[in-house]
Symmetry: C2
DNA sequence: CGGACTTTGTGCATGCGTTCACAAATGGCT
DNA sequence: AGCCATTTGTGAACGCATGCACAAAGTCCG
């Protein structure tokens, strides 16, 4: 175990963080949840094979993902659940609490606010905002609702690090601008709008319509494939099938 | 023009669908929304440059994405908005309506049910399910709630093509199994659980906790980077900074 | 104590997706 | 009619992520 050794040690550990592929980060979060569940069930050790199966990924990929955060496994044995949980939490920055603000207390906003201390601890929702005068002042999920005009001030004051936008599309960009002005550098956007932000700000988008449309694409692809198959079959006995014939199986 | 020649002819048009990268499909959905908005504003023609800017992507990528669905642009001019909308809708399979079932009428389920005919038409929510006896029979967003024991029967009967899981984590797998048994081949999963499904079924996952944790990672990365910068500065005048010193700016 | 077995960590090849850069095509202008 | 400006469509290079396959490392058992 090296002493302090300055140069390489600390920055190396820090810069490694930059090298983790985005996709791997998302998977680490999944591993973390699985590991937490195991930990609660008293499992103390796990192999890459078991963990990867539980997380639904390839075991080699899992090991590579874990290697991004360091070598915490024991060859011939596996990983210690507790150690892995700690290391992943550290890598994901979950050792510090991140205050979350939710803007737009419609159906979705309600759902988010009531999550309370978000799934898998560590994300206290500490501020809510809306335009509707009827909502302001009334607590939702124990948290009072402020007017969106106060976003900038409140976010700056409470050092909000993550802003969640759950407003109707037309309001999203204006809300986003205020969040940014209030010092928020990470935004989770549920509004179906492409947000314009300075490149110091990180945006992640959850778009229901897109998700459904991607699924729709797969339904269509499947139907087409079934049709192609049917035509291949039909060709064998004379090709009697109409081009737009629908195949139900 | 080849006669039957097996492979190429009709299947070519169909197989193209299979060749569209998943990532491109998701972007097509975004383009579609932007285009619809333009169409409503009376814009009839658009260049790849304009459209890509509005969608927040590189113009070359946009053109390549559009090329996956065919050549519908005019060189020197651009694309006709209406044509593009039609073609994308066709590719995404939006010409047929896809009935959607939502399972789990908690906060999130409510939000989903009340979306009504989902953002950007074409996804009527036609069935709701929950376990809570108090909810059953009472309409939410105009749609009556059934018991989850009836999932299989109702889905089969109404030819539901997309199932949305918005239940607590422990219930998710069982619900999923019933949806699959009812003939649902596409599932949108909001529960933080890795679903096990036959590989004929397509699952897309929306995981709030993962999204937040990825953002958290970025916050941490940024803080670390600031720290590294600060240490580099400090080193110049003697390196007095403690290793775990936090840098607030 | 040594050998066999297990499991990690990773170099390498493969494949996919993104980006560049340019030829081909089209409309408008003189 | 011919040329120029513009913009598409795509071949090719690049880069990243995935998956394989194996050496290194460690445990367990006889």
């Amino acid at each position: 175990m090296p002493a302090i050794e300055d140069g390489p040690s600390v920055p190396a550990a820090r810069e490694r963080a930059r090298a983790i592929p985005e996709a791997a980060v998302a998977r680490l979060a999944v591993y973390l949840r699985v590991l937490s569940a195991m930990s609660e069930q008293g499992v103390s050790s796990v192999s890459s094979e078991e963990l990867s199966a539980a997380a639904g990924v390839n075991s080699a990929k899992l090991r590579k993902d874990l290697s991004y955060i360091g070598s915490y496994g024991t060859r011939g044995v596996g990983y210690e659940v507790g150690v892995l949980v700690d290391q992943i939490e550290r890598t994901l920055g979950l050792t510090r609490k991140h205050s979350v603000a939710v803007v737009g207390i419609g159906n979705l906003g309600h759902a988010l606010a009531n999550y309370g201390g978000f799934p898998g601890r560590g994300f206290p929702v500490t501020a809510l905002f809306d335009v509707d005068p009827d909502l302001i002042g009334i607590p939702v999920g124990g948290i009072p609702v402020h007017h969106i005009d106060d976003i900038t001030a409140v976010c700056a004051e409470r050092e909000i690090s993550i802003g969640v936008i759950a407003t109707p599309p037309p309001a999203a960009q204006a809300v986003c601008d205020r969040l940014v002005q209030g010092g928020v550098e990470c935004i989770l956007n549920f509004a179906p709008v492409v947000l314009q932000v300075p490149d110091t700000v990180e945006v992640r988008k959850v778009d229901l319509a897109v998700e459904l449309q991607v699924l729709s694409f797969h339904v269509a692809r499947r139907a087409d494939q079934a049709q192609v198959d049917a035509m291949a079959d039909a060709r064998e006995d004379g090709d009697r099938t109409g081009i737009d014939g629908m195949v139900v199986r």
